[in-house]
Amino acid sequence: MSRTHVTTTVNGERREFLCEPQQSLLDVLRDELQLTGTKEGCATGDCGACSVMLDDRLVCSCLVLGVEAEAKSIDTIEGIATDEGLHPLQEKFLEHAALQCGVCTPGFIVAAKALLDQNPDPDEQQIRYWLAGNLCRCTGYDKIIRAVQDAAQTMRGEAS
C-alpha cells in the first residue's frame, strides 16, 4: 500500500509522517507520532475522546484523514500545558475532582478550551451543549461542568 508523505504542524512543531490514505488523524497521532494522549473511545465521532483542534477548530480526530493534515495546524492535549505550567482547565479539573478514570479527560479539556477561547463566560447550558459530544461515564458531568465554570472565572481574572 502506498503511503503518503504529510507535513504538518502539531502543537506548534513542524512534524512529518507517512500514512495510508484511509488512515485517520487519530491513528496517525497515536501510532505514527506517538501522541497517545488523544484517546479512541468509539472511532465513529460519538464520544469525543479523540478531540483535537484542526486549524483552531474543534474536531474528532477519528473523523479526519491523516492526509488532510497536510499544511494544517493541529493542537492536542499534549500541547495544552505550557512552560508556565498547567492550563487553568487542567488545574481546575484536578481541584474539582472532575475526572475519575481519566480516559475521557484529554478530550474534555481540549473541547472545553475551545469553548473558553471563543466564549470566556459561558453559562451552564452552553457548557453542557458544547460538551455534549464528549461522553463521560464516571462523573455524571457535574464536577466537569463546575471545573469548566471555575476555570472560565479564573481565566477572566476573577477570584473563584
Binding site: T4, T44, L58, C60
Partner: protein, 293 residues
C-alpha cells in the same frame, strides 16, 4: 488489489476529470467534504478501497454569499462556520437551526451542508430545512453546471441525483421575502448526539394582516426520502396560523408519512411525533415571520 488513494484537486475541472477517469476505468471514487459520514461508513459499513476526492479546496464549495438577490452556501463549508454567521442566521434561522443540530460541536467543526444533503439519509436534518426554503442545488459536471431543486436531488435512501462526473458545488436560495421565515425541529430521545426520529422544516410567508400567503413544509425520517408535503402547506395558506391550522398541517404530515419501525422509533410513534414537530415548527416560523419585515 485496488488500494485507497486520496486526491485534493484545486479546481472543479480537476475534480470532474478525476471522477470521470475513475468512472471510465470502473474504479470507485467518492467525494469527501467534512468526512463525518464517509469515514464512519468506511470504518463500519464498507471498508473497500476507493479514491477519496476531497472537494474542500475548491473556491466554489467554500463560497458563502448572502446577497440581496441570492444566498449561496458552498457545499463543503463546515457547520461551525455557518452557525457562527449571524447574517445567515437572520435570513434563514430554521436552516441554521437544522445545521446546528447535526452532531456534536466536534462534528460541527467538519460536517457540511453539502455532505448532509449528498449523504441523502432519510433522517438528514438539513434536508427538510433546505426544501422548506426552496433551496436549489448547484451541480457541476462534464456537461457544465445545472440547477436542481433540493426535493428532486434526493432520489432514495442514500442515493442522489448526481450523475457520472458530477459534484455538488453549493445551494442557492432566493432571500426570504418580507414577513417570511422558517423553522426546523426534530425529535431525538436525548438532547444531543442522536439521529432524528422525525423532523419538520417549515417556511411561511404572511401578509400584512398576518394571513399566511405561502408556505412550504418538509418532513424527514418518516419515509424513504425527505418529503415536501404540499397538503401541509395548503393547510397553512389562507389561515392566520392559528392552532387549528397548525394542527391540520400536522395531520397532513402524519398522512403523508410512511415510516418504518426501527431502533430509533416505531412507525406509529413517528407518525404521531411528526405532526407535533410540524405544528411546533410552523408556530415558531410564524412567530418569526410576524417579527420580520
Amino acid at each position: 488489489m485496488q488500494s485507497f488513494a486520496y486526491a485534493a484537486p484545486e479546481t472543479v475541472e480537476q475534480v470532474i476529470a478525476v471522477l470521470q477517469e475513475h468512472s471510465q476505468a470502473g474504479k470507485p471514487a467518492q467525494i469527501l467534504a467534512g468526512g463525518t459520514d464517509l469515514l464512519v461508513q468506511i470504518r463500519s459499513v464498507d471498508g473497500s478501497a476507493r479514491t477519496i476526492v476531497d472537494v474542500k479546496k475548491l473556491p466554489e464549495t467554500n463560497r458563502l454569499e448572502i446577497g440581496a438577490s441570492e444566498i449561496y452556501v458552498g457545499a463543503a463549508i463546515p457547520g461551525a462556520v455557518l452557525t457562527a454567521n449571524t447574517d445567515l442566521k437572520a435570513r434563514l434561522p430554521g436552516l441554521v437551526e437544522a445545521i446546528d443540530l447535526i452532531g456534536s460541536t466536534q462534528i460541527q467543526g467538519r460536517a457540511s451542508l453539502g455532505g448532509n444533503l449528498c449523504n441523502a439519509s432519510p433522517a438528514g436534518d438539513t434536508i427538510p430545512a433546505l426544501i422548506a426554503n426552496a433551496g436549489r442545488c448547484q451541480i457541476a459536471g462534464p456537461a457544465g453546471t445545472r440547477e436542481l431543486p433540493v426535493e428532486e436531488f434526493v432520489t432514495g435512501v442514500g442515493t442522489n441525483a448526481l450523475g457520472e462526473g458530477e459534484l455538488l458545488l453549493g445551494i442557492c436560495f432566493t432571500p426570504p421575502a418580507a414577513r417570511t421565515s422558517d423553522a426546523y425541529l426534530r425529535f431525538i430521545p436525548r438532547t444531543e448526539m442522536d439521529i432524528a426520529v422525525a423532523g419538520a422544516g417549515v417556511s411561511v410567508t404572511l401578509d400584512e394582516k398576518g394571513i399566511c400567503t405561502a408556505a412550504r413544509v418538509s418532513i424527514c425520517a418518516v419515509a424513504p426520502t425527505v418529503l415536501l408535503v404540499p397538503a401541509a402547506a395548503d393547510a397553512l395558506i389562507g389561515t392566520s396560523l392559528d392552532d387549528e391550522a397548525l394542527a391540520a398541517a400536522g395531520a397532513a404530515c402524519t398522512a403523508a408519512s410512511s415510516p418504518i419501525s426501527d431502533k430509533r422509533g416505531t412507525a406509529e410513534y413517528r407518525r404521531k411525533v411528526v405532526a407535533v414537530l410540524c405544528k411546533r415548527a410552523a408556530g415558531i416560523a410564524a412567530e418569526r415571520a410576524r417579527g420580520s419585515h
